[in-house]
């Protein structure tokens, strides 16, 4: 078990190194003056000269590369000349909104998909199954930016349900501001985080401490459409997997013997078959975090949700290369970390894997 985890961790470190290297190579091979690239859209000559000196762009590529690796190792993703800010600070600032959205989307997906998949898998070739199959087919085939717009059109415009337009911060009136510590310190990592009003935290504390549901309502109103938009592909995928997993499991001998023993069917379904089905689903969720991140870029753009994805698009429009690098690396590293965690979970649920 421990050996497995260590091996997995080493592999992960190798991948992270690879990701950083790819982003470095991309910058190195891209046409044009690297200083111009680092300085961002339309920076003037003096800035470009300062970038050249500060980033050591006159030095050999190898030493630039080692510098870059070294600084990322201590949590320093460089400096955005365009935004005049540490890239790390920019990334940190944008993380909570993206996580909030991604978690909400995953919750939406699980809440809808698992029961749907179970129903579909246990009632094969009945109308419910056809419905679920059709839904999941549409779900994995619909571009989510279009889905987002159609949700706005149908719910927002035709049925008049308000949706957020300025992201999470627009409704937090400031009464529940979550103060982060002024720096998150692990010795190595030391960066200012500022403060951010988290809709969900504010909403929950309003319910708990003020017995007020209005904040929660506001939060729900703001997160529902983006979460649905981002979660639909996931929902469809998990429905499919749950369905086929249930079909597989229900065909196994232990189900027949349990039924013979007279265990209630509902207990067999939810306690045993579903549990076994969940194991591959967790793996897929891990592997699909990348899809979620890609989807978040789009969803955040559609709903102007102030997360990493929206910031990435802004950085691309400004040609702000350090920020592009920082966000892409961060997303990729997040993907690796989540997959290691998923593997560990998987390993815990099903110890045979470590042998294979």
């Amino acid at each position: 078990m421990l050996k497995f985890l260590i091996r997995r961790l080493l592999q992960g470190i190798l991948v992270v190194w690879g990701v950083i290297t790819v982003m470095f190579i991309l910058r190195a091979v891209s046409p044009g003056d690297p200083a111009v690239l680092m300085a961002g859209e339309g920076a003037d000559d003096e800035i470009i000269q300062r970038v050249r000196e500060a980033e050591g762009l006159d030095e050999p590529l190898l030493s630039q590369y080692l510098d870059y690796l070294g600084s990322i190792l201590v949590g320093d993703f460089g400096f955005s000349w365009e935004a005049r800010s540490e890239v790390t600070a920019i990334v940190i600032r944008r993380i909570p909104a993206t996580i909030e959205l991604a978690v909400a989307a995953t919750v939406v997906a699980l809440v809808i998909a698992v029961p749907l998949g179970v129903i579909s898998g246990t009632r094969r070739n009945e109308p419910a199954d056809y419905g679920a199959t059709l839904f999941s087919l549409l779900g994995i085939s619909t571009p989510n930016f279009w889905l987002g717009l159609m949700l706005i059109l149908v719910l927002g415009v035709w049925y008049g349900i308000p949706y957020p337009s300025i992201g999470t911060s627009s409704f937090s009136t400031g009464s529940f501001v979550v103060e982060y510590p002024s720096s998150i310190g692990l010795g190595l990592f030391d960066f200012p985080t500022g403060r951010r009003e988290i809709g969900f935290t504010a909403a929950v504390s309003a319910v708990l401490f003020e017995q007020s549901l209005s904040e929660l309502g506001a939060w729900l109103r703001h997160i529902t459409l983006p979460a649905l938009t981002l979660g639909t592909y996931f929902t469809a995928l998990i429905t499919r997997l749950t369905r086929s997993g249930m079909i597989d499991e229900l065909g196994k001998p232990y189900v027949t013997s349990m039924e013979a023993k007279g265990l209630p069917r509902i207990l067999i379904l939810y306690k045993h078959t579903l549990r076994n089905t969940m194991i591959p689903i967790i793996t897929v969720i891990g592997l699909q975090i990348g899809t979620l991140a890609g989807g978040a870029v789009i969803t955040e753009t559609v709903f102007n949700w102030p997360g990493l994805g929206l910031r990435l698009i802004d950085a691309l429009n400004d040609r702000d290369w350090p920020v592009i690098q920082g966000i892409v690396i961060f997303i990729a590293v997040g993907f690796v970390v989540i997959n290691i965690v998923v593997d560990a979970l998987y390993n815990y649920l099903d110890p045979q894997v470590s042998e294979s």
Partner: protein, 334 residues
Amino acid sequence: MISDRVRSNLRQSFSESLLPKIGLGILVVIVVMTLFAPLLATHDPTDTGHFDPETGSEYPPLGHSYETEVAVDGEFTEVTIESNSTHVLGTNTVGQDVYSRLIYGARVSVIVGLSATLLALLIGVPIGLLAGYYGGRVDDGLMRVADTMLAFPALVLALALIGVFGERPVGIPDPIVMAGFAEGMPATIPIPGTVTIVGALVIWVWFARVARGEAMSLRNAEYVKAARSFGTSHAQILLKHILPNSMTPIIVLATIQVAVIILLEASLAYLGFSGTTLSWGYEIERGQDYLRRRPWVSIFPGIGIMLAVISVNLLGDWFRDALDPNVDQSERGA
């Protein structure tokens, strides 16, 4: 390349289930749209200015009308715009025919989807076969590269690549127009060149992985060993024995990846990073600001993307069910 057994499996599952038939049906429609776009379109898709002559407003789809306000000499006047029989699905914000752009959009999606997948095949399959066949360091190296590439979400990597290399459209000539069969249609249509290459760079690694797996299992197969004992060269073994026998899972994967690329192209065009405007994704973005009054501008191209992706997914499911190769759901790139 494709054995009789495979063929009969395909036939059997096709006749048993409705879904592959639907998939094939939609695909045929899309292929016809792609091939005969200049004949099916009613207007030059790039031709602007088809507005209601009195108010300068867009036409709604046939059978619909809508109300809007226009400034006439600085005064706002409420007007009702009726549809126009030559513009079946109405016109968009610059007065282009929505129906004709829907038809041509299929062409762009299909060309990008196929050529990016083909390019990815050409990159990924040889690398994967070599790594799987020879094993050792080459193989280790490939696996690390593959792991690294897979750590990037496809869209995010594509955006980063485009950020570096810019957006370049490529003009593709239209043989039907060149031969003089379609008057007034564009002689070339712009295809997002960078997006095609970037798409291939993003998905090639999936092909490399599958090809590697196949080559690894086949290199110890009896007939391969036999061929080697007869002194057949490695190159010939790879070409004559390993490649043909690896094709089935690769074809299944390729089918799914076409859908991935179609979605990727649409997403990039939607975000404004494809460099072309004749694209379903761009059309959706174009209509975004006009959603309340002119929803048709965004609705139809979205249906186009959805149908194209559904058909490819259905075919992919059909192939997978019939052939049962080791391509599972988790190997979808997008």
